[in-house]
Symmetry: C2
Subunit: 352 residues, 2 copies
Amino acid sequence: MNVTISLPQPADRDYTITIDELPPIRIDAKAVIVTNPKVSGLHLQRLLERIEAKEVYIVVIPDGEAYKTMETIEFILDRLFDHRLDRKSVLVAFGGGVIGDMTGFAASIFQRGIDFIQVPTTLLAQVDASVGGKTGINNRFGKNLVGAFHQPKAVYIDTHWLKTLPKREFAAGVAEIVKMAVMFDADFFCWLETHDLNDEKSLKEAIRRSVELKARVVNEDEKEKGVRAVLNYGHTFAHVIENFSGYGTYLHGEAVSIGMVMANELAIAAGLFSREEAERVRKLLQRYGLPVDYSIDSADRFYEHFFLDKKSHDNTITFIVPESIGRYRMLAGPERELVLSVLKRFEKGNEG
Amino acid sequence: MNVTISLPQPADRDYTITIDELPPIRIDAKAVIVTNPKVSGLHLQRLLERIEAKEVYIVVIPDGEAYKTMETIEFILDRLFDHRLDRKSVLVAFGGGVIGDMTGFAASIFQRGIDFIQVPTTLLAQVDASVGGKTGINNRFGKNLVGAFHQPKAVYIDTHWLKTLPKREFAAGVAEIVKMAVMFDADFFCWLETHDLNDEKSLKEAIRRSVELKARVVNEDEKEKGVRAVLNYGHTFAHVIENFSGYGTYLHGEAVSIGMVMANELAIAAGLFSREEAERVRKLLQRYGLPVDYSIDSADRFYEHFFLDKKSHDNTITFIVPESIGRYRMLAGPERELVLSVLKRFEKGNEG
C-alpha cells in the first residue's frame, strides 16, 4: 500500500511512502547507501539485490546517537566527494532514525542539496522519521539542534527488517503509534485496542494509519510553527527523563511512553481529561511492555529542566495533552503549582 | 531605491533589496552580527547605531577564503548556542561574499533554519551574493561544495561601505556588473560605456540594474537547473585560472574578467560573436583596471582542468558565451580542437 505525501509548493517535492515488500529501486545516477555495521551485517545484501544504479557505494558509520555529530557528517561528505558524486546522485538512508537524520542532513548540504531515499529499518523510524523532512545532528548543547528541513524523494517501508529488531525497540516504535492515535484519531485508538501489532497484517495497517496521520499534520505545518508541536505529546517529559537517566537507559520511545502517562496525569489535574481514558492509554502501552512508571528524584529539579529545553521561549512551556482520546489540547503556561503537584506523585516514595 | 525579489512558492520568502543609505533595522528578537576584523574595525559602529534588537551580539571570524570552512561554521554555531539564540533569532551578515556565504549557511542549519539579513560591504557581494540564496563553504575538494539554498529576509546595499574598499576589489565587483550586461542587456551595456561607476549616482543605478537582472534569472531558476548557468559566463575559465595561479593571486572578479575575454575568443572562433563587440567588452573591463590578458603555461593542461570542475557531468562542458552583446548562448560540448586553438593563443609566447 502507498501513502502519497503532498507538500506545499513547489509541487515537485511530493513523494510516495511504499508500505510493502521492498520493490526494485532504479536510480539513473550514482547511489550511495549510508548504513551502520549492525544493519549492513544483517540486511545489506537484500537491499543491494534491489538497487539498480549507475554505480553503488556503501558508507558505513558507527551505530548510535553518540555518533550523530558534525564529525560524522563531514566523514559522510568526504566519502561522497571521494566517490565523485554530482548533483544528480542519490543517497539511500538504510537504518534507524540516526541514519535517516544524518543521511538526510548530508544530502541537504552536499552541493547545496541532492536527493535522498529512506529505507527505515526500525519501527520507530518507519512511523516517525519517514514523514516530516526533519534532518539533523546533536551537539554539546543538545539534540537535533543543527540540521535542515529536507524531504526525501521516496520512502520504502518493509516490515521484513523488523524481524531482527529487539523486542524493546519494537515497543518503542509502538509508543509513537499510540501517540498519534491519542492525539488525533479515536477510531484508530479503538482499533489498536482490538488488534495485535505482532501480527504482520495489523502492523502494516497501523503503520499506514500512523504515517497518514503524521503526513496530515506535517502538511499543514511543514516548518513546525503550529500544530506540528502536537507531535511533542509526551516528549516534553521524555526529554527530561532521558536527560536525568543518561541517554541510553531508556530508548526514546520508552521515555515517550512514560512522558505520555505524565502528560495524561497533568491533563487530569487540569480538569481536562478523564482517569478512565488515561487508564486505557496506560493499558495499551503496557501490553507492549512499555514502561509507564518512573521515579523522580526531585520534582523541583525535574520542573526546572523544562526551561532548559530549546522549545521553551520566554519562560513559558506549552504542554501537549489529550482532552479526550483522539483530541489534543495545547496547555500553555500552566501554573507551576499544578505541574509540581503532578510531578510530586512520581517522586521517589510517592509512586502509585 | 528598492528591488523586490519574488521567489517561487511558498510566497512568504519574498524579500526586498534596499539600495540606499542604511535605514534603521528593527529586529523583534535576538540578533547576531557575523563579521570579520577588517569590516568591524572600519564600520561596526555605524551598523550598530542602526540596529535595534532585543539583544545584539557580535561574532568575529577571521578574514578570507581560507577560513570559509566547516570549522568556522561550527565556531559560529557554538556562539549562537552560547548566546541562547532561538528559532526567532536573526543573523546579520556584515562583510563581503565570504561572510555572506557563511552566515547564510549557519542560519540555514541552526535549529533547521532561522532568518538572516545581508549587509554586504563589497561591490561584488552587493551585486552578486545579495541575490540568489546560495550559501556554503569550501573543503579540500573545492569551492562552495557544501552548503544550502537559503534566502535572506532582507538585503541592505549601502555604497557608503565602498569608500574604504581597495580599488582592485571595487573593479572585481564591476566585472560582475559587466558580465550581467553582456549576457542579458545590450542597453545596460551601452549605458555602462557612457557612465562612470566612480560616480556615486551612476554606481547606485548600475547596482540596481545588475541586481534586477540577476533577480530575473534566479527567479526563473532558483535551484540552478537551467538559465542560471548563464551566470557562469567567464567563470568556467576563471576557475581554472584561479586554480593554476593559486587562490589569492587574482581576485575572483579579476579572474572572471580574463575568463570573459577568453569566452569571447571562443565565441568568435565558433563563429558566434564578432571581434568588434569583443573589443568593446575588453575596453570596458580595461577602463576599470581589470586584467584582460593571461599567460597559459600549457593549453592542454588548462583544457584538462575543465573536467575536474564540479559543473561538468559526464565529460561534456557547456561554455557560456555571448552571441551578441546582451544575448547569451550555451555552447555545449564544443570540439576539443576548437577550444584548444583558442587556449593556445593565450599560451606563453603566443599572447596578443
